[in-house]
């Protein structure tokens, strides 16, 4: 399915380039304009959506495992708010420089995660980290709202970033982001069995020889890097980190050795599929994929949690 979506993603778009023209270029290099569209727009965009989808979905799974909280996500631990504040800061310091936005978003996400580590390091229970995340989110949002009040021109940068989308993907940053995401995904898979042991609770995990606090730190750190990579490329895409791990848990159970690769794959499929629809539904206009994900994700997520509650009679 991912392969089919990749083929569709590079074949269709909002420009009036036909499917036939795309494939003629791929096999015969016939039309240079089509080549430019492919190399500078569609292929980078397709790679970006795959990277962001898989990174966000796996980041959600890592946060949920580390905090033993099914509702944990990049939003819960303050990563999104950190990115948002720094995007506003970037827009004030370097107005109009698009690359600055990506770099600042990345830095903001990481700094928010480091701040949580610093606050929660003395008593790093799962509730401590969630509470620290809520506190930090509020604080960072207050800072960014203050900046927007003082510099009203930056409101557009913040709102476009918070909606999320891939219309302006910069191919220059993709090799670095791709490398970091792949390294983090491999590291996550190495931690899959440890994530299974963590499910037994802190006392039992400790008795099995798992360094509980260190493992939780590692999961949050890798998750924060993955979320930061995604945020720096596509802005804030809601529901991917929440929806995909839940969906996969319902289908495959809780064994992270299978759950993690499945989450990675379905995260990529979901974001790529939604981005394709976002480009085609109102073509030649496109709506940001973040809006599409929310329209699709919210009802599905509601259905998922309500059916789960019914099943567990909670």
């Amino acid at each position: 399915m991912l392969i089919l979506l990749v083929l569709a993603s590079i074949s269709f778009g909002s420009s009036e380039t036909s499917f036939q023209e795309v494939w003629d270029y791929i096999f015969h290099h016939t039309n240079a304009t089509v080549g430019n569209i492919l190399w500078y727009v569609r292929i980078p965009r397709t790679i970006a959506t795959i990277l962001c989808g898989s990174a966000l979905a796996v980041a959600g799974l890592l946060f949920q495992s580390a905090l033993n909280n099914a509702l944990a996500s990049a939003g819960t631990i303050g990563v999104n708010s950190g990115a948002g504040l720094f995007v506003v800061l970037g827009a004030i310091l370097f107005p109009g420089v698009f690359v600055a936005k990506s770099i600042f978003a990345f830095a903001g996400s990481l700094l928010a995660a480091i701040l949580i580590f610093f606050i929660a390091r003395k008593n790093v229970s799962k509730s401590t980290i969630v509470m620290a995340g809520v506190a930090i989110s509020s604080l960072l949002t207050a800072f960014s709202d203050t900046l927007i009040t003082l510099y009203p021109d930056t409101v557009m940068d913040k709102s476009t970033f918070f909606i999320g989308g891939f219309a302006h993907v910069q191919s220059v940053s993709l090799p670095f982001i791709g490398f970091v995401v792949i390294v983090c995904l491999i590291a996550s898979y190495v931690l899959a069995t440890r994530m299974n042991v963590l499910m037994l609770g802190d006392e039992m995990a400790n008795s099995l020889g798992l360094p509980v606090v260190r493992t939780r730190y590692m999961l949050i750190f890798i998750g924060a890097i993955l979320a930061a990579c995604s945020v720096s490329v596509g802005g804030i895409l809601s529901f991917v980190g929440l929806l995909v791990p839940h969906m996969m848990r319902s289908l495959l159970g809780n064994d992270h050795r299978y759950l993690l690769p499945a989450t990675l794959l379905v995260g990529a499929i979901l974001v790529l599929g939604c981005d394709l629809l976002a480009r085609l539904v109102f073509a030649p206009f496109e709506i940001p994929v973040g809006i599409f994900l929310s329209f699709l994700g919210s009802p599905f997520f509601l259905w998922l949690i309500l059916s789960r509650c019914k099943r567990l009679q909670v």
């Binding site: 069995t193 299974n196 609770g201 006392e203 039992m204 008795s207 020889g209 798992l210 159970g253 809780n254």
Partner: protein, 252 residues
Amino acid sequence: MMKVSQLSVVLEHHQILHDISLDIRQSSFTCIVGKNGSGKSTLLKAMNQYLSYTGTIMLESKDITQISKEERARMMCYLPQQRSIPDMNVEQLISHGRYPHLGFSKTLQPQDIKLIQQAAKKAEVENLLHRNLTSLSGGERQRAYIAMMIAQDTDYILLDEPTTFLDVEYQLDIMDLLHKLNRQGKTIIMVAHDLPQAFSYASDIVLMDQGRIISHSKPDELIQTDEIYHCFGVHVRLSQNPNDLYRYTFER
């Protein structure tokens, strides 16, 4: 042998354990008894390195703080009293017992799978392997956890009130299983709330009160003293009725 020396634990500015010293014999079945709040569970948590403490705990002549977590988990396992019920099946749970024995890749080898099957057989949960823990009764779930401890294959087995909230039939099942493991050479250290049960199964009884050890002796020696009466307000007698559930009975 496990040797605890001058162990003190302070939690939230309250001293829970006061200078505890205790030698646990190899292959003994030691039950720790005492009133609620006497520090029994805290002592077990400290032994399992889950709480910070002052003093020393030596395991097989090694300071337990000087050995790695995984090495410790290959020597000693622990079953806490309160646990969340993870969403996994019995086979997955038992396989976690092999975690400290796996290499960096944490992949089960054929010998691990064999040990998991043997552990399931010993704990009599072979027919429950594919059942989810959430669907089991309390007794079945407890047996599944003990199967996990058997798979962990440690010389020391620490348990915090493993028969609490279970029906009598399940309580006897669990105690018989632990007794069998003890006969195979495992050292059992168990916090117990049921005095007749503890006295009937234990080779050694540790009596605690207000964070201190009052007595450490064999059950038959302890019933000759007034210490149980001073602590619990009951007298211990050897049962005269062969139909009684346990060898010891308690009277006001």
